[in-house]
Amino acid sequence: MSSETKQILTTDGIPLEVSLKKAEKKNKIKAFLLVAPLLLFLVITYIFPIGDMFMRSVDDRMVTNMLPKTFKAMEKWENLEELPPEEVYRGFYEDYKLLVEKQEHGKLGQRLNKEKNGFNTITKRLFRQIKRNKIDESISIKEQINKIHKRWRNVEFWLAIKRTAPPYTMAKYLKGMDMYVASDGSIAQVDEDRRIHRILWLRTLEIAFFVTLFSFFMGYPIAHLLATLPMKYSNLLMICVLLPFWTSLLVRTASWMILLQQQGVVNDFFVMIGLVGDDNRPEMMYNKVGTYVAMTQILLPFMVLPLYSVMKTISPSLMRAGKSLGGTPFVAFWKVYFPLTIPGIGAGCLLVFILAIGYYITPALVGGASGTLISNQIAFHMKTTLDWSFASAMGLMLLTGVLVIYWIYNKLVGVDNIKLG
C-alpha cells in the first residue's frame, strides 16, 4: 500500500524524504565541523605520538640498515648448525668496513653485545685488523676472520647476528616481562635474581589494588554520611573532600613527607601515646607504608565523589520501606541500599584503580626504593638511561592494561556518566 501513497513534496517540489535527508546531512557536517578542530589537534599531537611510541618500541632497523650485504648473503646460509659460508663472511666484512669508514662500528658492537655477550671484544679485534689493513681481500675472508678470535668460529655468534636481521623486534616487550629470546630462538626467562620488572608490575598492581580497597572502605561511609545529612551540614563537610581534591598534588605529598618523617607529627604522636619508644621511631616514609598512606589520601576524593553522586539519588524512603517490611537495619542496608550503590562503587573503584596504576609523583617522593612503581621505571628509562624504546614498550604495556580496565568501566558505567564534583 505504501508504494501507492503519493510522495509528499516540499514547496520547492522536491520529495520531502530527499529534502529531509539533505538537511540531516547538513546538520551532521555542522556537528562534525565543531568537533573537528579538537579532534584534529588531539590526533596530531597525541594519538599519532602514541602510535609513534609503538613504532619506537618495536623498531630494530639499526642493524638491518648497517649490515645489508650480510643479511642478503645469509639467505643462502642453509645449514644453521655449521658456520656460514664464505659469502656471509665477505658480506659482513664489507659492511663492517663501511661502518668503520663512517665511524659507526662502535654502535654495532654495542648492539650485538646486547644480543650475545662477548661481541664487543671480537668486533673490536676485527676493527683493529681492518685499521691496520691486515685483511687480504683476494683470499678467503672466512679463514682470516676465524683466525682473529675463537668466538668468530662459534656458530652461536653468527646466529646472533642473524637474529637481528628482522627490522622489527619484540625484545623490548619481552624485557619488560623479564624474558628474552634465547640463542635457539625460544623465549626464555631471565635468572631469578634479575627479574626486576616482574616485581615492579606485581607491586604496581598490588599497590593499586590495596589503595582502591582502602579508598573504598574509607570513602563509602563518608559518602553515605554526606548524602544523608541535611544540606547545610553536608555542604560544610563536602569542603573536607573538595579542598584536598583541588589542592596541588605536590602540596599534599609535601604535607605527608612532613607528617611521616622520623621526627614528624605522626611519630611524635605515637611516642606521646606510648606506642613506640622515642629512640625507636619507625620509618614510615621511603617505603610502602608511605606510598599507601599518601596515595589513599590523595585518591580518596575520586572515590567519594562518584559514590556521593549515586547515593544522592537514592530515596531515603526505600530504607524505611525495607525496615517497615521487617528487615533489621543491616538487612535493609544490605538488600536494598547497597545494591543501589553498585554503579557508584564501580565508577569510584575503577577511577581510583586507573589513577593509582599510573601514579608517578607520590611514589617517587615518598616511596623510596621499595615503593616505586612501573611509572617510575618508565621515567627512569626516559630520563636517565635514555632507552626510549624500552620506555615506550613498558608505557604501551601499561596503557594496554589501563584500556582494558577502561573498557570494563565503559561497559559497566558508561564514559558519558563521569561526573566531576
Binding site: 588531539l42 599531537t45 561511609p221 613527607m257 580518596l300
Partner: protein, 284 residues
C-alpha cells in the same frame, strides 16, 4: 542524623561507631593540609615543630620563609610563578575554545560516531600521565617545541580539554534547544544566537571546565618534567626539585600560598555549580 528514640541499643552503638569512622576519615582527608600552615611560619630551618612552637612562643614564629620566597637571592620562585601563570592562562583559553566547540558538536543529536569520538576526546584524562608525557615529548621533540612555552601550553591544552568537554557536555544535556530555534526564527544568525543565547546559558559549565583546565595546568608536573628546560621552570617543577633535594621551609611557604589559591578556586567552583543548577532549573 539524630536517631529515633525507639532505636535499640546495639544499633545505637553501631551508629556511633559509624560516626567515629566518618570523623576519622574526614580528619584523615583534611588534617594533612593544616600541618603546612604553622610550619611555614617556623623561625628555624627544620621541618619539625620546635619546642618554642609547641609552647606558642612568639619568637619561634617568623615570616622569614615568605620573605625568602619573594626576595631570596637566586630565587627561582618568581620566574616559576610567572611561567606557571602564563602557561596556565593560555592553556585554559585554548582548552575552553577547543573544548566548548567540541562539546557543542557532541551534544548535537546529528553527531556521527558519538561514542568513539567522545572516547578519543577524553582519552588524555584516562591514559596515565606518564604515558601522555612520553608521547607528547616525542611529538614536541619532533616539532622542535621541546623546552618552549608554546610546547608546554599545547601539552596542557591536550590534558585540559577533556575537563571542558565533560563539564560543557553535562551543562548542555539540560539545555533547552527550543530557545536557539526561537532565536533563529526571530532572524538571528548562528553566531549571534551562540553569543547572545547559548553562551550565557552554558557559561557556568564553560567556566567550571576552565577552572579544571587551569588547575590541571597549574598543578601539572609529569609532562612538564619531560618538556621543560631551565627557562620554562614552573611552580610544580620547583616544588618537585625542592622536595627531592633540599626540603626547605620556603617550599612550605609556597605550599601555603597554593592552598589559599585552591581554596579560592574551590569557592568559585562551588558558586558556579550552584548558579548552573539554578539556571538549569535543578532544585534540590
Amino acid at each position: 542524623m539524630a536517631l529515633p528514640s525507639y532505636t535499640e541499643t546495639r544499633y545505637r552503638i553501631w551508629h556511633y561507631i559509624y560516626l567515629t569512622i566518618c570523623t576519622f576519615v574526614f580528619f584523615f582527608l583534611i588534617a594533612p593540609l593544616f600541618v603546612i600552615f604553622p610550619l611555614s611560619f617556623n623561625a628555624e630551618e627544620f621541618l619539625v615543630f620546635s619546642e618554642g612552637m609547641k609552647n606558642l612562643d612568639p619568637d619561634a614564629f617568623s615570616l622569614r620563609w615568605y620573605k625568602d620566597m619573594i626576595y631570596g637571592t637566586k630565587n627561582p620562585w618568581g620566574l616559576a610563578a610567572k611561567n606557571s601563570f602564563i602557561i596556565a592562562i593560555f592553556a585554559t583559553i585554548g582548552s575552553i575554545i577547543l573544548g566548548t566547540l567540541a562539546a557543542l558538536g557532541l551534544s548535537s543529536r546529528h553527531m556521527p560516531y558519538k561514542g568513539l569520538i567522545m572516547a578519543t576526546l577524553i582519552s588524555p584524562m584516562i591514559v596515565p600521565l606518564i604515558i601522555s608525557g612520553v608521547a607528547i615529548f616525542f611529538f614536541m621533540a619532533k616539532a622542535g617545541l621541546a623546552a618552549t612555552h608554546t610546547g608546554i601550553v599545547l601539552a596542557h591544552i591536550i590534558l585540559g580539554t577533556p575537563f571542558v568537554v565533560i563539564t560543557v557536555t553535562a551543562t548542555l544535556s539540560g539545555f533547552d534547544h527550543s530557545v536557539t530555534r526561537a532565536a533563529a526564527s526571530l532572524g538571528s544568525n548562528p553566531v549571534n544566537t551562540f553569543m547572545k543565547i547559548t553562551l550565557p546559558l552554558i557559561l557556568p559549565g564553560v567556566i567550571s571546565g576552565g577552572l579544571f583546565a587551569f588547575v590541571t595546568s597549574f598543578d601539572e608536573v609529569v609532562v612538564v618534567l619531560f618538556l621543560a628546560g631551565l627557562e620554562n621552570t614552573t611552580i610544580p617543577i620547583q616544588m618537585w626539585t625542592g622536595l627531592r633535594e633540599q626540603l626547605s621551609p620556603t617550599i612550605l611557604a609556597v605550599a601555603t600560598c597554593l592552598i589559599l589559591l585552591s581554596t579560592l578556586i574551590l569557592i568559585s567552583a562551588e558558586l558556579l555549580r550552584r548558579r548552573s543548577e539554578r539556571l538549569r532549573g535543578i532544585n534540590r
